[in-house]
C-alpha cells in the first residue's frame, strides 16, 4: 500500500520546446563554459600547442650555440629570461623545450591509454581468469611507486627520451585499464550490448564499436590530467639525468644544469621550472573542468 502513489506513465508534454532537448555534448558544453579557470587553461594549452609547433622557427636565438661573452646574465630586454652558463638564451630554450615536453607528455599518455584501454576492455568483457590475471598485474604495477618503476625500466633500457616515454607509458597503463574495465563492466550489461550479442555480432566488434565509445568520457578526463603528470615525471627523470641529455633544451635537464649556479644565477633554474609548473597546472585545471562538466552528479 505504501508504495502506491498516484502516478502514471508520464505523457510527453506538448509544450516542451526544442531548446529544452539536450544532447550529451550541449549538456557538456553548458557546464563546461561556466568554468572560467578551465577555459583559461584550455586557451593556454592551445597557446602551448602553437608554441610547440612553431616555437623553433620564431625564437630569437640559437638554442645550442654557446655565446661565451654573455654567460650567466640575468633577465634583460635582450634576454628576457637571462642566459645560462654557456651564454645561451634561456627564453629561446624554454620555447623550444615546449615541443619536447608536449611530445613526451602526449605520446607517453597515448601509448599508456591505448595499452590500458585494450587490457581493460579484454579484462572487463571476458572476465574470469583473464580478468584476474590482468588486474593482478595492474595491482602489482600500482605497487611500484611510479617513478621508481620508470627508473627501473630506464636502468634496463638506458637513459634517453624514448625510454622515458616508454617508462612513463607503462605506469599510466594500469590506471587506464582500471577505468576502462569499470565502464566496460557497466556497459556490458546494457540492453544494446545484449541486443548486439543476440544477433551474433562478433566479440571484437562489440568491444570496439559498442563498448569502447562508452568509456571515452572517463578516459578523456584521466587522459588530460595524466598529460600533466607525465610531463612532470618525464622532466623529473631528465632532471635526474635519465631522460633528455644536455644540451637538449628539455626543461628538466635545463634545471639540472642550472643547479650548480643557484647561488649566482637562480634564473637558470627558475624559468624552466616555471614553464613546467604552468604547463602542468594548465592540464590539471583543464582536467578538473572536464571532470566537473562530464560528471552527471554535479549540477550546480
Amino acid at each position: 500500500m505504501s508504495q502506491r502513489t498516484v502516478r502514471e506513465v508520464a505523457k510527453p508534454n506538448e509544450n516542451e520546446k526544442m531548446e529544452d532537448i539536450r544532447t550529451p555534448f550541449s549538456e557538456f558544453w553548458r557546464k563546461f563554459k561556466k568554468q572560467k579557470t578551465a577555459i583559461v587553461a584550455a586557451l593556454f594549452i592551445c597557446l602551448f600547442f602553437i608554441t610547440a609547433i612553431i616555437g623553433p622557427y620564431i625564437v630569437p636565438y640559437d638554442v645550442a650555440e654557446p655565446d661565451y661573452d654573455h654567460i650567466l646574465e640575468g633577465p634583460s630586454s635582450k634576454h628576457w629570461f637571462g642566459t645560462d652558463a654557456y651564454g645561451r638564451d634561456i627564453f629561446s630554450r624554454v620555447i623550444v623545450g615546449a615541443r619536447i615536453s608536449l611530445a613526451v607528455g602526449l605520446s607517453s599518455v597515448l601509448v599508456g591509454a591505448i595499452l590500458g584501454s585494450i587490457l581493460g576492455l579484454i579484462s572487463g568483457y571476458y572476465g574470469g581468469w583473464i580478468d584476474n590475471v590482468i588486474m593482478r598485474i595492474a595491482d602489482v604495477l600500482f605497487a611500484f611507486p611510479g617513478i621508481i618503476l620508470a627508473i627501473g625500466i630506464i636502468a634496463i633500457l638506458g637513459p634517453g627520451l624514448y625510454n622515458v616515454v616508454f617508462a612513463v607509458a607503462i605506469f599510466s597503463t594500469p590506471m587506464f585499464a582500471r577505468i576502462v574495465r569499470g565502464s566496460t563492466l557497466a556497459i556490458k550489461e546494457t540492453v544494446y550490448v545484449e541486443a548486439a550479442k543476440s544477433i551474433g555480432t562478433k566479440d571484437k566488434r562489440i568491444m570496439f564499436k559498442h563498448i569502447l565509445p562508452g568509456t571515452f568520457s572517463g578516459i578523456i578526463v584521466y587522459f588530460t590530467m595524466r598529460i600533466g603528470t607525465s610531463i612532470l615525471t618525464a622532466s623529473s627523470l631528465s632532471f635526474l639525468g635519465m631522460g633528455a641529455q644536455p644540451p637538449t633544451p628539455e626543461w628538466g635537464a635545463m634545471l639540472s644544469s642550472g643547479r650548480d649556479y643557484l647561488g649566482v644565477a637562480s634564473h637558470i633554474t627558475f624559468f624552466p621550472g616555471m614553464a613546467i609548473f604552468v604547463t602542468v597546472l594548465a592540464f590539471n585545471l583543464l582536467g578538473d573542468g572536464l571532470r566537473d562538466a562530464l560528471d552527471p552528479k554535479i549540477d550546480n
Binding site: M1, S2, R4, T5, V6, R7, E8, A10, K11, N13, N15, E16, D20, D299, N300
Partner: protein, 322 residues
C-alpha cells in the same frame, strides 16, 4: 478554542538552480494546534518535505531559500531567527524524524552517543545523567536491552529498531512539535504498524504535537486529527480527517482517495490520476491541477482559485466550490 503552536503564513521556498528558479513551496498556509496530529499529504514533488525542512531551517546545504512568508512558533518568527537562536529550537522545541532510518544514523558513532549529545546540548545534563536519560528514552520507545543497545553501532540494528532510535532521539528533549517526514515509508508493513502505534502512544503520554508528512492516506486515517493536502507547492484542501475522507471537495483529493485500495471491496483496477505534477517550467497559469483535472473548465486555466470554506474548518482551493 485550540491554541496554535505553529503557524505558517504564505511560505515561499524557492530553489535557485542552474536551470532556473524552482518554486518548491509557493504560498503555503498551515497551522498546527497544540497536542494534535496534522497530516500533510501529497505526491512526491508537492513541496511537503521542503515545507518541513523550511520549518527546521535545514535548507542551508541546498540551494533552497525561504524567500517570503512567516513561520511562527510560540510567537517567534523562525524565518527571521539567527542561526544561533534557531539551533536552540532545533532538536529541543521542534524535533524531526526522517524517512530513511537506515541512513539517518551516523554509522561510526554509538547509539547512546548520538542520542545523548542532544540531551547534553539542550537539557545541559552531565554525562552520567544524560546516559540515564538516554537509556530511559530507549526503553520508552520499546527497545529491549536498552543498556546494551546504548553502546552498539547502528549497523547492528534492524530498520525498525533504528527508527525507534530516531524517535527516541527526537523525543529526548521533550519537543513541543515533532515533524515526522514519511517515518514509516521505508519500513516493512508490520514494522510500520508498530512504529505508528508507538507514535500514537507517545503522543498520548507526552502530548507532543505532530506534523506527519506522508503520501500514504492509510497512515493519515490512522494517525491524524486534521489533514492538509498539498499539490505543486500549494495547499489545495484542508479539513479534519473525517471531512477529508468523507466529503473531499478538491478533485485532487478525490483522486488521491480513489487510488487507495479498500479492503473487502472488489475493484477491477485502482483508479489513478493521469499525468504528473507539472514541472516548474511548465507551471500552468491558473489552477495548477488543471492539466490533470477531470472537471476542468475555462476559468481553471485562467485564474488560480482562492480558498472556499465548504464547512466549518474545511476549505478547498477549487472553482467548483465557488
Amino acid at each position: 478554542m485550540d491554541k496554535k503552536i505553529l503557524e505558517i503564513k504564505n511560505l515561499k521556498t524557492y530553489f535557485f538552480t542552474d536551470n532556473g528558479i524552482v518554486k518548491a513551496v509557493d504560498g503555503v498556509d498551515i497551522h498546527v494546534n497544540e497536542g494534535e496530529t496534522l497530516g500533510i499529504v501529497g505526491e512526491s514533488g508537492s513541496g511537503k518535505s521542503v515545507t518541513s525542512l523550511s520549518i527546521m531551517g535545514l535548507l542551508n546545504d541546498t540551494s533552497g531559500k525561504v524567500v517570503d512568508g512567516k513561520i511562527e512558533f510560540q510567537g517567534r518568527n523562525l524565518v527571521d531567527l539567527k542561526e544561533e537562536d534557531m539551533r536552540k529550537i532545533r532538536g529541543n522545541d521542534i524535533a524531526m524524524i526522517f524517512q530513511e532510518p537506515m541512513t539517518s544514523l551516523n554509522p561510526v558513532l554509538r547509539i547512546g552517543k548520538q542520542i545523548s549529545e542532544a540531551i547534553r546540548l539542550h537539557l545541559k545534563y552531565d554525562k552520567a545523567r544524560a546516559k540515564e536519560h538516554t537509556i530511559e528514552m530507549l526503553k520508552l520507545v520499546g527497545i529491549p536491552r536498552a543498556e546494551n543497545i546504548y553502546s552498539e553501532f547502528p549497523f547492528q540494528l534492524s530498520g525498525g529498531m533504528r527508527q525507534r532510535v530516531m524517535i527516541a532521539m527526537a523525543m529526548a528533549c521533550n519537543p513541543k512539535l515533532l515533524i515526522a517526514d514519511e517515518p514509516t515509508t521505508a519500513l516493512d508493513v508490520t514494522i510500520q504498524a508498530q512504529i505508528l502505534d508507538l507514535m500514537k502512544k507517545l503522543k498520548k503520554d507526552v502530548g507532543t504535537a505532530i506534523m506527519f508528512v506522508t503520501h500514504d492516506l492509510g497512515v493519515v486515517a490512522e494517525m491524524c486529527d486534521r489533514v492538509v493536502v498539498m499539490y505543486a507547492g500549494r495547499v489545495v484542501e484542508r479539513g479534519d480527517v473525517y471531512q477529508i475522507f468523507e466529503n473531499p471537495k478538491h478533485p485532487y483529493t478525490k483522486g488521491l482517495l480513489k487510488s487507495v485500495p479498500v479492503l473487502r471491496q472488489k475493484v477491477e483496477r485502482l483508479a489513478s490520476i493521469p499525468g504528473n505534477v507539472p514541472s516548474p517550467k511548465n507551471m500552468p497559469k491558473g489552477c495548477k491541477f488543471a492539466p490533470r483535472c477531470k472537471n476542468v473548465f475555462d476559468k481553471c486555466w485562467e485564474e488560480e482559485p482562492p480558498f472556499y470554506n465548504v464547512e466549518e474548518n474545511h476549505s478547498s482551493k477549487c472553482w467548483l466550490c465557488e
